[in-house]
C-alpha cells in the first residue's frame, strides 16, 4: 500500500524495510507513551485521502539521543541505520548525525537522528544540539545502575532547550544481551518506575543481537509521525491543503518574474 510521489524522482525510493503500515506496539504497557492498537483514525483518513500536503509540512522529526558515556548510543543508531555493530569503542566527538527515511501509512517521513557525545567535555555544547528536538531518547546500560540514575539529569538538560509539553520521551536500556534474566528484571523494575515518573516509554534492547532495535525505531517514527499529522490537521482546520501550496508557489514566482510580468504581480 505504498504510494510514491512522482516528483520524488531525484530520490531513491524508501527502502522496503522502512515501510510502516501498522502502528508498532509498545515494549511494555506499564510504561508507554500510549497503548492504542492502531494509528489514530483521523491520521489514517488524512493519509488515505492523500492529503499528504498536510503531512508534508512537517515530515521531519528531530530526535536526540542522550545518555552516559559508553552506554551504546552510537551502536544503537548504527545497528539500525547501517545494520552494523562495531565492538570497538570510539567516543563520539560533539555529535554524530544520521537521517533515516520511512514511509508511514504511505507518506514519506524522516527522522533526523542526533547522536550526542556522552563525555563531560562536550556537555557545554550539548544544548546547541538539543534545540528543536521532538523526540528525546535517553539511553542507559541495563548493566550499569549509575547510568540509569543519571537519566533524570540527562532529561533535565535536554528539556531546558525544548518545550516539555511538546516532546516525546523514550527511556532505553541497552546491552540486554550482557545481562542475566535475574539481573535484568531487577533493573527493569527501577527503569519502568522512572519511566512512569518522567512519562517516558520504556524499551530494552541489544544492539549486538539487534533484539528490539528495529521495533524501537519504528515505534519512534510512528509516534512522531502521528503527533505531527494531528498537530497539522488541527492547525489547518477546514482550510484546503491545495490552497496553501498555491499561495506559496505564487509568492515564489514573484521574486523571479521578469519585467513584463512584474506589473501585474506587484500590482
Amino acid at each position: 500500500m505504498s504510494v510514491r510521489v512522482p516528483s520524488m524522482s531525484v530520490l531513491p525510493p524508501v527502502r522496503k524495510d522502512r515501510v510502516i503500515a501498522q502502528l508498532p506496539q509498545c515494549y511494555s504497557k506499564k510504561a508507554a507513551v500510549q497503548t492504542k492498537d492502531e494509528f489514530n483514525s483521523k491520521v489514517k483518513t488524512a493519509c488515505q485521502e492523500q492529503r499528504t500536503g498536510t503531512v508534508g509540512r512537517f515530515k521531519i522529526a528531530k530526535v536526540i539521543v542522550v545518555g552516559d558515556l559508553a552506554v551504546g548510543k552510537t551502536c544503537l543508531i548504527n545497528r539500525f541505520c547501517k545494520d552494523a555493530f562495531d565492538k570497538n569503542y570510539k567516543a563520539t566527538i560533539g555529535v554524530d548525525f544520521e537521517m533515516e527515511r520511512f514511509e508511514v501509512l504511505g507518506v514519506p517521513f524522516s527522522l533526523q537522528l542526533w547522536d550526542t557525545a556522552g563525555q563531560e567535555r562536550f556537555k557545554c555544547i550539548a544544548s546547541t544540539y538539543y534545540r528543536g528536538a521532538q523526540t528525546i531518547v535517553i539511553v542507559f546500560d541495563v548493566n550499569d545502575v549509575a547510568s540509569l540514575r543519571h537519566a533524570r539529569q540527562w532529561l533535565e538538560d535536554a528539556l531546558k532547550e525544548n518545550d516539555p509539553t511538546n516532546v516525546q520521551l523514550f527511556l532505553v536500556g541497552t546491552k540486554k544481551d550482557l545481562s542475566s534474566p535475574a539481573q535484568y528484571s531487577q533493573i527493569e523494575q527501577d527503569a519502568i518506575k522512572l519511566a512512569e515518573e518522567i512519562k517516558a516509554e520504556y524499551w530494552a534492547l541489544s544492539s549486538l543481537t539487534g533484539e528490539n532495535v528495529r521495533e524501537f525505531f519504528f515505534r519512534v517514527a510512528s509516534l512522531a509521525f502521528e503527533v505531527n499529522v494531528l498537530a497539522e490537521l488541527e492547525k489547518s482546520g477546514s482550510r484546503h491543503i491545495g490552497d496553501v501550496i498555491k499561495i506559496n508557489s505564487n509568492s515564489n514566482n514573484l521574486y523571479a518574474t521578469s519585467k513584463k510580468k512584474q506589473s501585474n504581480c506587484c500590482q
Binding site: V5, S7, M8, V10, L11, P12, G56, R57, F58, K59, I60, A61, K62, C81, I93, G94, V95, D96, F97, E98, M99, E100, R101, P108, F109, S110, Q112, W114, A117, R121, F122, C124, I125, T128, Y129, Y130, R131, G132, N248, S249, S251, N252, N253, L254, Y255, A256, T257, S258, K259, K260, K261, Q262, C266, Q267
Partner: protein, 603 residues
C-alpha cells in the same frame, strides 16, 4: 527583450519547487550514491581520510582576538594541523577586525580575500578539481587566493581590561560561497563565543562528516543541531534560475534551506548608488580600477562582492578585495603612484585611503546605509576633484563616460519598488535579471563568433592530429556585430562597438577567452577520439607493419589516459569502445608482444 521568455522562467521555477519540497529526506549517506556526471566519485568518497571532507569545504577555522600587548593575534587555529604561513596569519589578523574606529558594536559579518603563500600544494588537489569541473566559472575554487569569512563580536565587558570583548571567528576557504559561509557562521560563532573550544571541535567534526561540495547535488549538511540544505549550482544550469526554493514552512530549528550559496543581495548592496548601476556594470566589465569607500567592513565587502557578481555569468578575472586594509601585504603594490592604478576592485574603510587612493579613476563612496531616503532623488556622477579626503558626500566619483546610453526603465522600475515598499528580495531579483540580460546581450555575439573558430567536423581526420582552432581576429569579430550584435537582444543604444573594443583589451576578456579556448580544444580532442573509434582498426593494422601497430597501440593507450585525466566531453561509451579497439589490436599481434602490451599502462 529577455533572452529567456518569462514563461520559461516560471517553468524552471515550478519544477525545482517540487524538488525543494520533496527531497528534504536525503541522508548524507545516500547523497553520495546519487549520481551526477560520470560515476567515479563513489570510489573517491569511500577513500576519504579523516579531515578530507573538512578540507573540501574549509582550509581552517581561526579565532582572532585582541591582546593588549600584541594587538590582534590568531588565538586558535582549528583543526590544529592546518598550515598557515606567518604572512598569511598576519593577513588574517588584520583583515578579521575593523581597521578604523567604526563603532561596530554587537555582531558584524563580512568577508575578505588574500593571496595564498606560494609553494603549498594540497594532496587533495586533483580530488577537489573534480568538483570544479561541474561548477560555473564564478564558483570555482579560487586558485591562489583564500577567502576569509568573518563573524566579529564587539561588546562591552567591564571584566576585561580593555573594557570590551572583541573577537572574530574566521572561516578560511577557497570556495566563494559567501552566503553559505555567512549562514554557517551565524550558527557556529554565537555558540563559540559562549562555549569556547569544544564547540569548534564539534563543529569541525560535523563538517568532516559532510558530503563533499559537489555541484548539482542537493547537499544535506548537519551542523550544530540544525541541518542546512544547499545546492551548489552547476555550469549546466540555466543562468538566473534557482533550483532550491526557500520554503517558508520550514521549521528553522530543524532545517535551513539556503536558496543560494553565493548570490549577495544586489539591490541592498547597490541601494546607495543605484542611479549608477549601469555605469558600474561597465566599469566592472572593463576591469577598471575601482575603490569602494565604506563606513564598515560589512558594507565594503558586500558592495565589492556585488560589483564582482554583477557581470555574472562572466567571471571577474582581476584581483578584488572585499575588505582591504593598510596592513595588507599588497598595500604598496596597489597604492603606488608611480604606475597607473591596477585593474582591481578594493573595498576599504580606513579614512586614510581617501588620501592614498585619491588618484584612482573611479571611487564609490558609501555613506551610512541608514540614510535610505537619499536614493529617491536623482544623483549625478561627481567630479573627482570634488572628492575631499574626509567627509565627502556619498556617491560615485569618476570622469568616466559610459559607452551605453542610460537605461531609465530599470531605474524607474526600482524606484517604483522603493515607493511601493516592494520586498528587497523582489527588488534584488529584478536587478539580478537586469544585469544578467545585459551581460548576456553583451557576451552572446562573442560566444557566437568564438564558436565559429571551431574547425569543421569534416576536417577532423582520425589519422592526423586534431586541427587547430582558428585565431581570434578582432576586425572580423567587429564585423559580425553589424548583423548579429547586441542590438538583437538588448534595447539599449549607445557605443557598443567602443565597449567591445575596450573589453577585448581587458583581463576579463583574456580570462574568458582562455577558458573558452580550453573548452573548445577539449571538444576537439573529444571529436577526434570519437572519430578514431569509428574507424575499422583491423583493416588499418593489416596494412601496416608490426612496429607501426605497436606504435598505434601505445598512442591509443595515451589517448585513453588523457581522456580520463582531462575528463574530455565524450559521447557515452566512447572510452569503452576505445578500450575494446586497443584490446582487439593487441590480439592481432604475436603472443610475446601481446604479453607486454596487455600490462596496464603506467600513467
Amino acid at each position: 527583450m529577455a533572452l529567456q521568455g518569462s514563461e520559461e522562467i516560471e517553468e524552471q521555477l515550478a519544477e525545482p519547487e517540487e524538488i525543494g519540497d520533496e527531497d528534504v529526506s536525503i541522508s548524507p549517506a545516500e547523497e553520495i550514491t546519487l549520481n551526477v556526471g560520470p560515476g567515479r566519485e563513489e570510489d573517491t568518497d569511500s577513500l576519504l581520510l579523516p579531515w578530507d571532507r573538512f578540507s573540501a569545504w574549509l582550509h581552517c577555522i581561526c579565532v582572532v582576538g585582541f591582546d593588549l600587548e600584541l594587538g590582534q593575534a590568531v588565538e586558535v587555529i582549528y583543526p590544529h594541523h592546518s598550515k598557515l604561513s606567518e604572512k598569511e596569519k598576519t593577513s588574517i589578523c588584520y583583515l578579521s577586525f575593523p581597521d578604523s574606529n567604526s563603532g561596530c558594536l554587537g555582531d558584524t559579518q563580512f568577508c575578505f580575500r588574500f593571496r595564498q603563500a606560494s609553494g603549498r600544494k594540497s594532496s587533495l588537489g586533483c580530488f577537489l578539481d573534480q568538483f570544479d569541473r561541474d561548477a560555473p566559472v564564478c564558483l570555482k575554487r579560487d586558485q591562489g587566493h583564500y577567502y576569509g569569512y568573518v563573524y566579529f563580536r564587539q561588546v562591552r565587558d567591564k571584566s576585561l581590561k580593555r573594557g570590551y570583548f572583541q573577537k572574530s571567528l574566521v572561516l578560511i576557504s577557497k570556495l566563494p560561497y559567501v552566503m553559505f559561509f555567512h549562514s554557517l557562521l551565524k550558527l557556529i560563532a554565537p555558540e563559540y563565543f559562549e562555549k569556547q573550544e569544544p564547540c569548534l571541535e564539534a563543529a569541525c567534526n560535523d563538517i568532516d562528516r559532510w558530503p563533499t561540495p559537489h555541484p548539482g547535488k542537493i547537499l544535506v549538511l548537519p551542523i550544530m543541531g540544525t541541518v542546512m540544505k544547499v545546492r551548489i549550482p552547476t555550469c549546466y544550469d540555466k543562468p538566473g534560475t534557482s533550483q532550491l526554493v526557500q520554503s517558508t514552512q520550514n521549521d528553522n530549528l530543524v532545517s535551513i534551506i539556503l536558496p543560494t550559496v553565493h548570490e549577495v543581495d544586489l539591490f541592498t548592496c547597490f541601494h546607495p548608488v543605484f542611479f549608477h548601476i549601469q555605469m558600474l556594470w561597465e566599469l566592472v566589465l572593463l576591469g577598471e580600477a575601482l575603490v569602494v569607500m565604506a563606513p564598515s567592513p560589512a558594507e565594503s565587502s558586500d558592495t565589492v562582492l556585488a560589483l564582482v557578481s554583477c557581470i555574472s555569468p562572466l567571471r571577474y578575472c582581476s584581483d578584488f578585495r572585499p575588505y582591504f586594509t593598510i596592513h595588507d601585504s599588497e598595500f604598496k603594490e596597489y597604492t603606488t603612484r608611480t604606475q597607473a592604478p591596477p585593474s582591481v576592485i578594493l573595498g576599504v574603510t580606513n579614512p586614510f585611503f581617501a588620501k592614498t587612493l585619491q588618484h584612482w579613476p573611479h571611487i564609490i563612496r558609501i555613506g551610512d546605509m541608514k540614510q535610505a531616503g537619499e536614493t529617491v532623488k536623482q544623483m549625478k556622477v561627481k567630479k573627482l576633484k570634488n572628492l575631499k579626503t574626509l567627509d565627502s558626500k556619498p556617491g560615485v566619483y569618476s570622469a568616466y563616460k559610459p559607452f551605453l546610453n542610460k537605461d531609465e526603465d530599470i531605474i524607474k522600475q526600482l524606484q517604483k519598488g522603493v515607493q511601493q515598499k516592494r520586498p528587497s528580495a523582489a527588488q534584488n531579483a529584478i536587478l539580478r535579471r537586469y544585469f544578467l540580460e545585459l551581460t548576456q546581450s553583451f557576451i552572446i555575439p562573442l560566444e557566437r563568433y568564438v564558436a565559429s573558430l571551431m574547425p569543421l567536423q569534416k576536417n577532423i581526420c582520425p589519422w592526423k592530429s586534431p586541427p587547430q582552432l582558428r585565431p581570434f581576429l578582432q576586425d572580423v569579430f567587429m564585423k559580425t556585430l553589424e548583423k548579429a550584435g547586441p542590438q538583437l537582444t538588448s534595447p539599449l543604444k549607445g557605443d557598443w562597438m567602443g565597449l567591445y573594443r575596450q573589453f577585448l583589451r581587458c583581463p576579463n576578456f583574456d580570462g574568458w577567452f582562455r577558458n573558452r579556448r580550453r573548452e573548445m580544444m577539449k571538444k576537439l580532442e573529444a571529436l577526434h577520439l570519437e572519430a578514431v573509434c569509428e574507424e575499422d582498426l583491423q583493416v588499418r593494422v593489416q596494412q601496416h607493419t608490426e612496429v607501426e601497430t605497436v606504435d598505434l597501440v601505445l598512442k591509443l593507450k595515451d589517448k585513453l589516459t588523457q581522456a580520463q585525466r582531462e575528463q574530455l566531453p565524450l559521447r557515452p561509451g566512447t572510452l569503452t569502445k576505445l578500450q575494446a579497439h586497443i584490446d582487439s589490436v593487441i590480439l592481432s599481434l604475436p603472443d610475446d608482444l601481446q604479453g607486454i602490451l596487455h600490462k596496464p599502462s603506467t600513467p
